[in-house]
């Protein structure tokens, strides 16, 4: 450890860190200690070129850049002196010499570091008379990104990202001096699974995502925290919300999960929340064989009636449950209790799978496969085999991943079942064989915890209210349990209480619940043996 004094306050910091890293470690950077910066990024190599992070370091005659000055024990740093302020003003004026100052039509306006720092350190008027650099506008960098070369301040974060993180290296700085420009190498496009991160880390309006640009002014957005549900990594995100609609995900830093990144396909899963194929009405199979929308309560009663009849005529052993890895820990806890109270031990979890990589993307394409396993759900392949063997007559299904290639591939084999009750966020082919359909909430519509691939429990918050009647899976199952008169089910679902009970259900969750995981999550207890 080394002693560091910043603006007269003493801190202890780890050895071998630079001034900016140490401030970042302490959580103080731009959060108590303002050292504005453009080229420095906590997860990229040091560039040292924007020169905005200059601070006074005792013993050095010149100002030093915070991003590349290693801390020495006893170092004394000043960030608020007149010299530092003057230096920042100087850099800001020079950065704006060639900037088009087109904030009114720039989509970055409102979340632009150039705007922010110009407001704080910039002059009220420009001293330049000469025309500014005329460069390329609306450059199509690839499938996801549009580039405005004139707005670029050449911090080279995007160049370093493509070299160091996505390791695709599509971008470079070409030419020299004030004719330097960022471009793709000839014959290449920015086309990699993480491409849109360069728009996040671009401090100005040069790089914007084709998906979000011009959709809404960012000052209309609230940006509550949440998690991506695209795979088992559970990348932390901020959800851009306005008008009860989610407009985008941007990565939220969590060094234990996703650092500051998110993959493109995960980022796009925000579209699932307001998708046109959301299951919006409770539905019942009519006597004519068609699905008819119905009142939610009636659908639950019908589901209960079907299950009761099966239990009475064939016994509970013919009923199976298939959980979803999109369901939360709390939902799954209730599902397990529900199946146990019903008297069946035939249960599994269906998890969609796909490609994985070494960075963030995991093979399990749902957020809670690990939670399901910890809560005692084996893979649904066993249940699928039992169904194929004709020993199952009633099925309660969360989600529709049972139709995935690892399980049934299609709905046809399920057509012979007497009763199929489906709780789902979205519509699917499963509709064709279901008897009761019950809409449930997406992670962004409820309080819930999810356990990622590495056993880290993270939570979601309700950031929008569905425009239709839908409940958390746990709540639906609670009501169904009550309708069936199952022991311990009174129809009420208090998610905090269920969450606090997770530890009793599976020891891995001891001490972990909705409240304790906070915004950064908590790891489950190590599995014994």
């Amino acid at each position: 450890m080394a002693k560091l004094s910043v603006d007269g306050v003493d801190y202890e910091v780890a050895d071998g860190r630079t001034i900016l890293q140490a401030l970042d470690d302490l959580g103080l950077l731009m959060n108590g200690v303002d050292v504005p910066h453009y080229c420095w990024h906590p997860k990229l190599s040091v560039d040292g070129s924007c020169r905005l992070c200059q601070v006074e370091v005792e013993g050095f005659p010149k100002l030093q850049i915070g991003c590349n000055t290693p801390i020495k024990d006893g170092m004394v740093v000043r960030t608020k002196s007149e010299r530092v302020k003057k230096a920042r003003e100087g850099v800001m004026e020079l950065l704006l010499v060639n900037h088009p100052l087109d904030c009114p039509i720039c989509d970055q306006a409102g979340e632009c570091k150039l705007q922010d720092y110009a407001f704080e350190y910039g002059a009220t008027h420009a001293r330049t008379e000469e025309p500014r650099r005329a460069l390329k506008k609306r450059v199509d960098l690839g499938p996801t990104i549009t580039f405005d070369q004139e707005r670029c301040i050449l911090c080279r974060r995007c160049v370093r990202f493509c070299r160091e993180v996505s390791e695709t290296g599509e971008l470079g700085v070409f030419n020299r001096g004030d004719h330097s420009v960022v471009e793709t190498f000839p014959g290449t496009k920015v086309d990699n699974p993480y491409s849109m991160n360069i728009a996040d880390i671009c401090p100005v309006g040069a790089l914007t995502t084709k998906d979000f640009r011009f959709k809404i002014r960012v000052w209309f957005l609230e940006e509550p925290p949440g998690i991506c549900t695209g795979c088992a990594n559970g990348c932390n995100v901020f959800l851009g919300v306005a008008n009860n609609k989610v407009y985008r995900y941007v990565p939220r830093r969590n060094d234990a999960v996703n650092e500051t990144w998110i993959c493109d396909s995960g980022r796009m899963t925000y579209k699932q929340i307001g998708a046109a194929d959301r299951l919006e009405r409770a539905m019942l199979r009519s006597a004519q064989g068609t699905l008819e929308a119905t009142a939610y309560g009636q659908a639950i009663d019908e589901a209960a009636a079907r299950l009761r009849r099966l239990v009475q005529t064939k016994g509970p052993g013919v009923i199976a449950g298939v959980a979803s890895a999109f369901a939360s820990n709390e939902d799954l806890a209730i599902f397990r209790r529900f199946l146990a109270a019903l008297g069946t031990d035939l249960a599994g979890v269906a998890i969609p799978t796909g490609e994985a990589d070494d960075l963030l993307i995991k093979a399990e394409k749902a957020p809670n496969g690990e939670g399901a396993r910890l809560l005692g759900f084996a893979d649904a392949k066993g249940v699928a085999d039992r169904i194929r063997g004709g020993r199952v007559e009633g099925l309660v299904v969360l989600g529709h991943d049972l139709l995935g290639p690892g399980y049934f591939g299609s709905e046809q084999e399920l057509a012979k079942l007497d009763t199929v009750i489906v709780l789902d966020t979205h519509r699917s082919e499963l509709e064709r064989v279901s008897h009761v359909l019950l809409p449930v909430r997406h992670a962004a519509e409820k309080h819930a915890t999810y356990t990622n691939h590495a056993g880290r429990v993270q939570r979601s918050w309700p950031v929008i209210e569905p425009s239709f009647e839908a409940y958390a899976d746990g709540e639906v199952l609670s009501r169904l349990g009550a309708a069936l008169g199952l022991a311990g089910f009174d129809g009420k679902f208090e998610v905090g209480e269920v969450s606090r009970g997770l530890g009793k259900l599976a020891s891995a969750f001891r001490g972990i619940d909705l409240e304790s995981v906070g915004e950064q999550g908590l790891p489950v207890a190590m599995k014994a043996g």
């Binding site: 040091v46 070129s49 590349n68 230096a87 020079l94 001293r127 050449l154 020299r176 004030d178 330097s180």
Partner: protein, 432 residues
Amino acid sequence: MGLKVPFVTSYLTEHFGDDDFTKLEGYRKRGGWEAARKALTTMTPDEVTETVKASGLQGRGGAGFPAGLKWSFMPKGGDKPRYIACNADESEPGSFKDRILLERGAHQMLEGILIGAWAMQAEKTFIYCRGEYAGPGASIRRALEECYAAGILGANCLGTGFCHDVVLMLGAGAYICGEETGLLESLEGKKGQPRKKPPFPAQHGAFGMPTTVNNVETFSHVRHILNHGPEWFKGFGTDKSPGTTIFGVSGHVARPGLFELPLGTRLDEIIFEHAGGVANGRKLKGVIPGGMSMPILPAGQIDVQMANEFLRERKTMLGTGGIIVMDETTCMVRASCVITYFFRDESCGQCTQCREGTGWLHKIITRIERGAGSMEDIDILADIAGKMEGATICAFADAAAWPVQGMLRHFREDFELHVKHGKCPFPESFEL
């Protein structure tokens, strides 16, 4: 014409008039490679470094850093190979001394390199020669071929068992590749742009290995120091700046050329006695004393000894010793246009102040020259130059700011006349 030999010679250039001095045989006939043999066979590496340190030899690339001290920064032992980079990327406008040291004295430089290699126990030297120096590059190549054929370099240098390879690389014409870390980047095949420090080249240099970068002339002095001793070397020059250097005089003088003289020789002596004074009977207006990046001195201030300890008092520096002389017809605003155009074009573009400042300086000065400037513009120039100075990764921004500051310090009147008259008041000045 061509600058075949210097007009004034001393130990460095003594034999530059002899054609066979460029060949190994001729070089050996005049004592060549004996200093290296002495170092490798009778001295320890530390003794060589100490000798160079004791001589007070300052780097001749422009910054004047003590050469022996730089050598001593190289880590000893360890499992990483140590490298030397010889900076032959001479491209400072007004400087042309390294060219003749390469064309006429390649063996002399190589001998200095081998001595340095022994002192630093370096495995390999990369000579980074500017691409436009086709002739000097060919001279280096010929000398290297001779040295390898004669067993002077390579697996068994001079039969001593010491192993040292020298590799020649030609640059592609960027001024910034003469900055020592820009050179290393270019050497590695990357875009030539200076590296942030730390780490310094002695820890993390070429290809990540400990590296010392020295200029052509710096290495050329070394054999003489080894042959005659530090005290002899200190007999030339001033107390603080020992040895000779090769002053290159260009511009409005009767006899432009190269002059090897002791450091501390007076600037007026160099111009009036050696370079024949101002051409065409005109009066002197100003002199850039050390290559274009050094602040100009007005005619009244050239009674100064050419060594940093004296030049600093006049807010300028020795730089590369390239002296640019300007007569009374010269428009200093036009001269500033030329200077700032160069730096605008050559800035690598990494650091904000340098990238944007060089362009802005050039634009404003061009406008003033056109007669469309204001008095406020002149103040803005000073302000921009102040913001560029000492705030960037390398000294390029300083090199671009200093000449403008020098012009404003001594020739502000020229700028003001442009503003007042709304046009350039120097009709006889050179054309842009």
